[in-house]
Symmetry: C3
Amino acid sequence: MTIERYESGKRLSQVLVNAGTVFVSGQIPADLTQDISGQTRQVLAQVDRLLALAGTDKSRILFANIWLRHGSDFDAMNAVWEAWVTPGHAPSRATIGSPLVGPDSLLIEIALQATA
Amino acid sequence: MTIERYESGKRLSQVLVNAGTVFVSGQIPADLTQDISGQTRQVLAQVDRLLALAGTDKSRILFANIWLRHGSDFDAMNAVWEAWVTPGHAPSRATIGSPLVGPDSLLIEIALQATA
Amino acid sequence: MTIERYESGKRLSQVLVNAGTVFVSGQIPADLTQDISGQTRQVLAQVDRLLALAGTDKSRILFANIWLRHGSDFDAMNAVWEAWVTPGHAPSRATIGSPLVGPDSLLIEIALQATA
């Protein structure tokens, strides 16, 4: 079975597809001056773009791992998340606090699995 | 291939099944007045219940991600965990420290994958 | 479908294979006196060994979860990681800060999925 990789470098592939399962690497926002709402929107827009590379979309996410620097950002993140999720197609999910790798202004990272 | 979702809302599905793989969302205890032993038991009881919804059980877990607020709870968590695991059917696992999203009294969260 | 387990005990299986997917439990270094470069090399050597048990290798990793105690170790970890990854076969990946379970001298843990 051939593994397909997209936006692949020496370190990682942003998207990898194997046997119909799509893995999206941990995504962080580009503009860290935004608050948690803006940073969540940025990350989800990247997720949409990367899922499209693999020929799938957010209605077919299996599991999402969301890491938050501040647990107090949970409600604001969820407001953006819930507006983004395809109704009736919510994935399984875990949201975990983490001292994210990056500057203190980096508030969120998301990695996920989807099906093609 | 149809994705099946159980206890599914706007935000997440507590269980999602795709192509024979079962994803259980991050589970936390309901009663946070209990110590790590009690909280672990609560989470594992929810896991049992959610796996049953998908027609599977703990003997068929593939990978479990366990997050602990306090690394010092590792041994007490493991005592409950090892009494719960089906002998000869231990899953792969990672146990990670995390400032969990929730009150300081929330001590543990577990998410996992199983096979149907 | 039969699940295969390697180095399996009461608590966990270091490697588990189901339907062609290989799960490697969270690996930590044995010698915690080494710096992040040495600890990363130790973990990746264990990963190589465990993948071989399942009849696969690092060129077929699907997703790797890397946890770092100190975000400041990111560049040094990546230097070892990039020298190890099979060129053209980089997996998807997420690198997350974590107060790892263990002594303060434990700097890194890695868990991953591969295909057989």
